[in-house]
């Protein structure tokens, strides 16, 4: 590799800036775990005494666990549905000469640049016009809309990243479309699929605004948290819960992005 002249020289000012930037990014988030160990009901700094009791209390609350269960159900279903649809759509976009490919891709990625409140409102209107009761299903339907762009954007580079001749070769060797898909396409794009599952799961798991409009009696975790934010005595428990969610999301996304490589970057590049 050739020496990249000045870019190989460390730039002290930029390094300092990068350090500050990362601190600003993470410090606020780290206060959630920190205060989840505080004994007091109110947030006061510095923390006087530490406790684990909020975590213990967390596991006694059936409502939390139920909300967690609901969130997982919704997120798993959304992740699977949007990834499956994403695989088909990404394959079509990457492999076939489709008239109007640009506008179609734009339409699919549209939910990325529409405020979620608009989707929440619009879908609420649709659902109530059709007299569909609000439930976890309606939340899931809403989440699929915002997860599809993420799934497609993660999968599309995967499809574009390998030679279409692989699939042709499999067809040429006597496999029909379905078997080509299972024997060649899926194994090759598997990292993309796993990444898409993880990312869409996380997006759905954390989504609040659409769930707020589309949720019924069964609460997802963010809805539950929103309800609990108003109650002072519930509050430290919410922080404990938030800490666990943070840990969990971090783990999932880290794995997802690592597997999916540059999917997320490509995505924004297109947007």
């Amino acid at each position: 590799m050739t020496e990249r002249f000045e870019f190989h020289k460390p730039n002290r000012a930029l390094q300092l800036y990068a350090g500050l930037f990362m601190a600003m990014l993470y410090v606020p988030i780290l206060f959630i775990p920190l205060f989840s160990f505080s004994d007091g009901l109110y947030i006061r700094f510095p923390i006087e005494s530490f406790t684990l009791r909020w975590y213990a209390e967390l596991f006694e609350r059936t409502a939390v666990l139920r909300a967690l269960e609901n969130s997982v159900r919704v997120a798993v279903s959304v992740a699977i549905v949007s990834t499956v649809l994403g695989v088909f759509a990404a394959k079509a976009l990457a492999r076939y000469r489709i008239p109007g490919r640009g506008p179609i891709l734009g339409f699919i990625l549209l939910p990325l640049v529409v405020p979620p409140i608009i989707f929440g409102v619009a879908l609420l209107l649709l659902v109530s016009a059709l007299k569909i009761p609000l439930s976890l299903y309606t939340i899931a339907a809403g989440h699929i809309i915002i997860c599809l762009p993420f799934a497609i954007a993660t999968l599309l580079p995967r499809f574009e990243g390998y030679d279409a001749a692989m699939e042709e070769a499999a067809a040429d060797l006597g496999e029909n479309g379905w078997w080509v898909f299972w024997r060649v396409t899926v194994p090759i794009i598997l990292p993309g699929i796993v990444a898409s599952l993880l990312l869409t799961f996380t997006v759905s798991f954390d989504e609040f605004v659409m769930a707020f409009f589309l949720g019924g009696t069964d609460l997802t975790l963010p809805l539950y948290i929103w309800g609990q934010l108003r109650i002072p005595r519930a509050f430290p428990v919410v922080l404990a819960l938030g800490t666990l969610i943070l840990l969990f999301s971090f783990a999932l996304v880290f794995i997802g992005l690592r597997i999916g490589r540059r999917g997320a970057i490509k995505l924004v590049d297109r947007g």
């Binding site: 990249r4 002249f5 870019f7 190989h8 460390p10 930029l14 390094q15 800036y17 990362m22 410090v27 988030i29 206060f31 959630i32 947030i43 700094f45 649809l85 088909f88 759509a89 079509a92 976009l93 076939y96 489709i98 008239p99 699919i108 529409v114 405020p115 979620p116 409140i117 608009i118 989707f119 409102v121 879908l123 209107l125 649709l126 339907a141 809403g142 699929i144 809309i145 599809l148 990312l199 954390d206 609040f208 605004v209 409009f213 948290i225 934010l229 938030g242 969610i245 943070l246 999301s249 971090f250 999932l252 996304v253 992005l257 490589r261 540059r262 997320a264 924004v268 590049d269 947007g271």
Partner: protein
């Protein structure tokens, strides 16, 4: 040579197969269909419904579907709506501008000065974006609060005698929170556009004796503009409609249009007005977006 079976005598299955083989785009559309149908039903139809409803009027618990522009007239004439709309646009713009400016040097650093483990850096930078928005907003309450981290810290250091009040429940709080929450969205496209710049071209311009500062303004900045524009849009548009942040950290002067829309569908119970506000919001975002694009276009011409 064998007689080829005539089309009519072929079983339907084979005929369909034949059609699919001959028409590649048809195969593509079949694969796309599930995604497009779902998006069509969940995006296009509700938007039409929303447009229709925005022309109705709420009377008590019922709608009068007498098709009038009453809601829009109210939005345009009553200061409440115009103020909130303008404020939302302004605050989103300020937050976006601040974020893009803060994020650019970081993206530059990562694109040009980091040579190994870029992926890990990228993951670490984007990680917070994937975690609960609610909790991130919440974290800022902890920091900006009256007895929050900043105030306690400054008091401890003896720099202030009394907690700063403008930190929480203010527009500043909303802008800081938005900037933090959306940093990743602005960061990625800028980074990608910087990363794409051919480094050898920069070496060439250095060879020609251009000083680094000029090189930045004449080569790097213009080449990264598409990323800056993409980042601006990706952050600006969703933030205009945000209502969680103003609710949690904004005070009376920081309410945004999203709050009002949400209220129309809740406490105020005027869905047609809510629909009209939502549509107005989309239209004004579009207008601002077009204006921004025109501005950028003009700037690029002028710079040439």
């Amino acid at each position: 040579m064998e007689e080829s079976p005539s089309a009519a005598r072929m079983p339907l299955r084979n005929r369909l197969q034949g059609v699919l083989i001959r028409h590649e785009s048809l195969r593509g559309f079949l694969l796309l269909a599930p995604a497009l149908v779902i998006l069509g039903i969940t995006v296009a139809v509700p938007f039409l419904l929303m447009s229709a409803m925005s022309l109705w009027t709420q009377i008590g618990f019922d709608y009068a579907d007498d098709w009038s522009l009453r809601n829009y007239t109210a939005i345009l004439t009553e200061p409440l709506y115009t103020t909130l709309l303008l404020r939302s646009l302004t605050m989103a713009m300020v937050a976006t501008f601040v974020t893009v400016v803060l994020v650019y040097p970081m993206a530059y650093f990562l694109a040009f000065h980091v040579h190994s483990n870029k992926l890990i850096w990228l993951i670490i930078i984007t990680l917070p974006f994937w975690t609960s928005y609610l909790l991130r907003v919440f974290a800022w309450r902890v920091i900006l609060g009256y007895e929050g981290v900043i105030n306690s810290g400054l008091m401890e250091l003896g720099l202030i005698g009394e907690p700063l009040q403008f930190l929480l429940y203010s527009r500043v709080a909303v802008i800081i929170t938005l900037a933090h929450a959306w940093a990743a969205f602005a960061f990625l496209p800028i980074y990608v556009s910087l990363e794409k710049i051919d480094k050898s071209m920069l070496e060439a311009s250095a060879d020609l004796g251009e000083p680094p500062v000029m090189r930045f303004f004449r080569v790097i900045l213009p080449l990264s503009m598409p990323g800056v524009i993409a980042g601006t849009f990706l952050m600006f548009i969703p933030t205009v409609g945000d209502y969680v942040t103003p609710t949690l950290v904004g005070g009376p002067d920081a309410a945004m249009i999203g709050n009002l829309i949400q209220l129309q569908f809740g406490t105020i119970n005027n869905w047609p007005m809510g629909a009209a506000l939502a549509i107005t919001m989309i239209l004004s975002i579009t207008l601002v977006g077009l204006f921004f694009m025109a501005l950028m276009h003009g700037l690029r011409r002028w710079a040439r």
